[in-house]
Amino acid sequence: MKGDEFEVDKPEEEKLRKDEIQLIIDGKRLDGRDFNELRPIKIEAGVLKRADGSCYLEMGRNKVVAAVYGPREVHPRHLQEPSKAVIRYRYNMAPFSVEERKRPGPDRRSVEISKVSREAYEPVIMKELFPRSGIDIFVEVLQADAGTRTACLNAATVALVDAGIPMRGLITSVAVAKVDGVLVLDPMKEEDNYGEADVPFAFVIRNGKIESIALVQMDGKMTVEEMKKALEMAKEGAMKIYNLQREAIMKKYEAIEIEEE
């Protein structure tokens, strides 16, 4: 209990809300995007040799890599569950991933992100098929530019499929922010730092349709109406990301077929 209890939740959350910073100019965002436009996304499945499943993903300037190990034996043993697999999710930021070096290891923010991310996957992964075993999901943020938890969730989904873990659907995640009084999809760093609100969502998509909400968090200030609109906006964005996740998975399997011939 030393040190940690006085650990300060870093100024990342300390929003400036300075009036002189204009985030919307002539109806466009600072990086030229429309309000409902995602950042460019690049997804590649199966990038790590040792992991059972893996994925590299870029979302704007975010660069993340996800690895899945399992189903495998659980250590320590007492964590085993007799009737289902134990899911573990570890979100971690590389010390060099942010402007000011981040002290290595889990801080309070990463612990919270890991918790809610794990809870998003738990109802989706068919845990009951693997009693006494563990499925470990590790995500590493190599470069951060707002929305790392959403990027990591998107990468983890592809890595889980790559590892052949049976799931009831795919998890796809995107955030909506409020900046200069308007809602914008997939905020980048400036919009996250100086914006008025940030709402990360994750959805379960099954048979090409959004079925339910697997993760939702929010900080900032939004009216009830805006929140409802934010959900609609996030759903549209998520469907686009979902298609890219599928493409990345298909591409991996196409590559395998060629090798076999």
Partner: protein
């Protein structure tokens, strides 16, 4: 093991009652337990409050001291929120470093206070870039009969409302009341099937940790939200939860006006 069997029995009971649209303690689905707020009970603290939410009890103490500001906001005070789930409060709590539950609790409470800008941090600057007031919000759970989040959030804002900045003690002028200008209220619900129970008790939680906390401010803005627990939430429920939470928060906020 005994505990687990008991939880299973309770779960069946909760679910069977719910099929008739009832709760085990006779409350309406959206009814909050009785609330008692007692402030200023720890004279050593700059502010304090004990909140009783049914049988759930949380004590929050506020300590303040001068410290260094964050470099990107050199003219604002700093809020640090911490939660300790001491073993005295529940047979399932263990001593030791904060686990993910207590970290999440502290961060959800913190978010409500921070994002509603409940404390005017600009009035807590002593010397720009050098010295500002630091507010330590320490959440001490005493009895966990369910929904520690709402009890903690309520205790935190109640304690802040009666906090005096101890300027004299640090030779920084006259003591003054902490400038509080917003009243965030957190409302947590337990999602069970197609229903949800506002302010769940520990027995009701036997159906599983399927929670969502929605914090709103005095102007009915949503200022913080957290889905907590392994479950999936339908969009329809999400919309309903927002509306009900904002409405319930308004009810609870009335109690804060007497502090």
């Amino acid at each position: 093991m005994g505990e687990e069997i008991l939880m299973d029995i309770k779960k069946d009971y909760v679910l069977s009652k719910l099929r008739d649209g009832e709760r085990i303690d006779g409350r309406k689905l959206d009814e909050i337990r009785s609330i008692e707020i007692e402030t200023n009970i720890i004279s050593k603290a700059e502010g304090s409050a004990l909140v009783k939410l049914g049988d759930t009890q949380v004590l929050v103490g506020i300590k303040m001291q001068p410290g260094e500001p964050f470099p990107d906001v050199p003219d604002r005070g700093v809020i640090i929120t911490n939660a300790e789930l001491v073993p005295l409060a529940s047979p399932t709590f263990e001593a030791g470093p904060p686990d993910e539950t207590s970290i999440e609790l502290a961060r959800v409470v913190d978010r409500g206070i921070r994002e509603s800008e409940a404390v005017d941090l600009t009035k807590l600057c002593v010397e720009e870039g050098e010295k500002v007031w630091m507010i330590f919000i320490d959440i001490h759970a005493l009895d966990d009969d369910g929904n520690l989040v709402d009890a903690s959030a309520l205790a935190a804002i109640s304690a802040l409302l009666n906090t005096t900045v101890p300027a004299e003690r640090f030779e920084l002028g006259d003591d003054f009341p902490l400038p509080v200008r917003n009243l965030p209220v957190a409302i947590t619900s337990l999602v069970v099937g197609d229903k949800f129970l506002v302010d769940p008790t520990r027995d009701e939680m036997s159906v599983g940790q399927r929670l969502i906390t929605i914090t709103s401010d005095k102007d009915d803005n949503i200022v913080a939200m957290q889905k907590s627990g392994s479950y999936l939430l339908s969009e329809q429920k999400f919309y309903e939860l927002i509306d009900v939470s904002v409405e319930k928060a308004r009810e609870v906020r009335e109690l804060l006006k007497d502090i």
